[in-house]
């Protein structure tokens, strides 16, 4: 039962850390409960609306598609959680030197990840059942609920195994490890999406996927030490140093360069570009499959592409612009002494963090906001409007991440500086509201008069830029006040 000891210690540790943060911000928990319930309600209403209005004729979204999307989303979450909890922490050494099997350590760590994520999904399902019982007309058969739980377990387990395999010491070993797991994901896609599985078949497919992925967690433990060593004790000579940016202020330039070098060498930038590329390609893929959204009422067809474009920009901006801002201070605790013992004012130190994040904004615009209007042949005025409001939304979400990250930094080394799930969820929903406001007001003006609409979008972008400056100044004040 050594896996249970690992799991129990990990859960107690994480739960106490969460309790401390909850006690500090009781109102945050209430907000979380309200927003969480609200978002489940909105999701169900969207499904209800889709069932009534229908989807474009060429767009096939089945329950199999939804379950595979849940599996894939949880795979990504499981990989991130596994990296922070099981592969990257230096404290893992205290478990690795004990006379227990590596499989027990890996499984104990996986159970911790499963516990928190499954609790989240269980709460969402319970709320969904309550809303359906209170009158929302969405069918919720037991097979779907069971399949969803299995998709979560198998997704998290697959993510865990992939995180270990992707952390091996050479590119050849990484690729071999990832390739060896590709058939499992391929099986999931073929069975759930391509074969258009019925709900009962989905339960069986996901049960099989769960068994295989849990076995993969145990099997991946064989490589856990190699992955841990590779992640915690590199021995790299990165070659001749190069500067990534040129700025007038030498101190600011050096600090932005530090942020960018760290992002490049930790491969965060690669992940960022990859994610933005995937979101952009998904958007273009949707356009390629659906084309003109036939089969929808004209009022819905007219907003179909603006809606999915806005959703894509939100996803890219929230994950790639807000999240780095949230972690900007939290990830620094152990190293805060370096800058804080130098003659560098907090505003310079924090401006560098903000600039490093702002450099990603053009990538989001070019990778996500611009391709669809260009490929779909949107008129020039519409394309310009899309770019402007997307820029405004991106800047506003940068400001939100920077402000919130400094206001409530999380110094737990297991999370890489990211806030706990409750705070993160609250922030994503606040980001959704902020992005909606920033985009909706100019859009309303644009419908009235396109010139005024474009001016409104420029004003929105200006205001969002001012928000970035304000957020950075406030964050710098917090940075200066924190005891290093």
């Amino acid at each position: 039962m050594s896996f249970y000891a690992v799991y129990a210690a990990d859960v107690v540790d994480a739960f106490r850390a969460l309790s401390v943060r909850v006690r500090r911000r009781r109102s945050g928990v209430l907000w979380f409960a309200l927003l969480f319930a609200g978002s489940v309600w909105i999701a169900l209403k969207l499904v209800e609306l889709t069932l009534t209005v229908g989807l474009p004729a060429n767009l096939q979204v089945t329950t199999g598609t939804l379950l595979f999307a849940a599996f894939f989303g949880m795979l990504a979450k499981g990989a991130v959680d596994a990296y922070h909890r099981a592969i990257h922490p230096e404290s893992l050494v205290f478990l690795l030197v004990q006379p227990v099997s590596r499989g027990a350590i890996a499984f104990g760590k996986f159970l911790t990840i499963l516990w928190f994520n499954l609790a989240f999904v269980a709460a969402a399902l319970a709320l969904a059942v309550a809303f359906v019982a209170s009158g929302i007309r969405v069918p919720l058969p037991w097979e779907f609920a069971a399949s969803l739980v299995l998709a979560v377990v198998s997704g998290l387990a697959s993510g865990f195994a992939l995180a270990v395999l992707g952390s091996l010491s050479t590119w050849r070993r990484k690729l071999a490890g990832l390739a060896s797991y590709a058939p499992v994901i391929g099986f999931g896609y073929a069975s759930l999406v391509a074969a258009n599985a019925t709900l009962r078949d989905s339960v069986l497919v996901l049960a099989a996927l769960t068994a295989v992925s849990l076995a993969a967690v145990i099997a991946s433990a064989r490589f856990l030490v190699e992955a841990w060593n590779n992640q915690t004790a590199g021995r790299r000579r990165p070659g001749k140093p190069r500067h990534y940016v040129r700025l007038a202020d030498a101190k600011l330039e050096a600090l932005v360069d530090l942020e960018l070098k760290t992002m490049v060498r930790k491969r965060q930038l690669l992940l960022t570009f990859g994610t933005i590329l995937v979101v952009g390609l998904a958007l273009l893929g949707t356009y390629g499959v659906v084309g003109h959204p036939a089969g929808l009422p004209p009022s819905v067809a007219g907003v179909f592409y603006p809606f999915i474009l806005a959703a894509a920009v939100y996803v890219a901006a929230a994950t790639q612009l807000t999240v780095p801002g949230l972690a900007a201070l939290g990830k620094e605790l152990d190293r805060l002494w370096i800058l804080r013992s130098l003659p560098v004012p907090g505003r310079t130190a924090y401006a560098a963090k903000t600039i490093a994040i702002l450099l990603i904004v053009p990538v989001v615009i070019l990778g996500v906001a611009l391709p669809l209007p260009l490929f779909a042949g949107f008129p020039l005025a519409v394309t310009a409007f899309v770019v402007l409001v997307s820029s405004a939304a991106c800047l506003a979400l940068v400001a939100l991440g920077v402000y919130a990250g400094a206001r409530n930094p999380n110094f737990d080394p297991n999370t890489g500086g990211l806030p706990d799930s409750i705070a993160m969820y609250n922030l994503f929903l606040v980001a959704l509201v902020v992005a909606f406001v920033v985009v909706a007001i100019p859009a309303q003006v644009y419908q009235y008069d396109f010139v005024l609409g474009i001016l409104a979008a420029i004003l929105a972008a200006d205001l969002a830029a001012a928000l970035v400056v304000f957020a950075t100044k406030r964050a710098a004040r917090r940075y200066d006040a924190i005891a290093a």
Partner: protein
């Protein structure tokens, strides 16, 4: 160089530093001795502007630390007890960053880094990313980072942690040379031998209060002990 007047710092109900009065003169190597949690690190963090005191005043080079923290930082070098570094930077990039942030001209900064790397035997490791460093190498890099810019004062929290005897000897020689040229060192250590060998004066801190202050023979005499280790135990108890 370092002066504390009724310096007080609390963490919730715990008084970490309790109305401490202290003066460290220019050119002096001053040792803070104390058990774990005695308040040594807290006091050092107040001097380096990393913590704000709750009462009293702390001065570095005549500057009150809360009045002009940037000036204080410009005049000091600091090594924390467990230095975490930018793991994805090479040693050369790290020291180059610090030189820029300290406003040193590029060519002068490079010369100083080269000289420091030679002094602390870091030449070969400078091109490696720092996550490859051993504990001792990290400590050496932290010492290099604290000293390369020729500060007026050094604040060193357990500076011999992780160092091998050969390098500990090099460090002790460097500290004596630094003080001989007018530099001031405030260091904390658990190792009474090191305090005996390098410190001009020591202070023993217990539960946030100063319980003894003076040269090593003066502290031994006050505690009626034959050596500093016995004096320390006599002053703070053996629990």
């Amino acid at each position: 160089m370092f002066r504390a007047e009724h310096l007080t710092k609390r963490y919730a109900d715990v008084v970490a530093v309790d109305r401490v009065d202290l003066e460290v003169r220019p050119g002096e190597i001053f040792g803070l001795l104390g058990s774990n949690g005695a308040g040594k690190t807290t006091m050092m963090k107040v001097f380096t502007t990393l913590l704000r005191s709750d009462g009293g005043r702390a001065y570095v080079g005549g500057v009150e630390v809360r009045q002009d923290p940037l000036k204080v930082r410009a005049s000091l070098g600091y090594v924390p007890e467990n230095p975490s570094l930018y793991e994805k930077l090479t040693g050369a990039e790290f020291l180059g960053l610090l030189a820029t942030l300290r406003g040193l001209p590029a060519d002068r900064g490079e010369r100083m880094i080269e000289a420091t790397a030679r002094r602390f035997r870091l030449d070969r490791e400078l091109e490696l990313e720092m996550d490859a460093y051993s504990r001792g190498m990290r400590q050496k890099m932290a010492l290099a980072a604290a000293t390369f810019h020729e500060p007026r004062g050094l604040v060193l929290d357990e500076p011999t942690n992780g160092l091998d005897p050969r390098f500990t000897k090099i460090l002790k020689e460097y500290l004596r040379e630094f003080a001989a040229h007018g530099g001031t060192v405030l260091l904390s250590t658990h190792i009474t031998d090191i305090a005996e060998q390098v410190c001009d004066r020591v202070a023993v801190i217990h539960e946030g209060r100063l319980v003894a202050l003076g040269t090593v023979p003066e502290v031994q005499e006050a505690a009626r002990a034959a050596n500093l280790e016995d004096a320390f135990i006599a002053l703070v108890g053996d629990a």
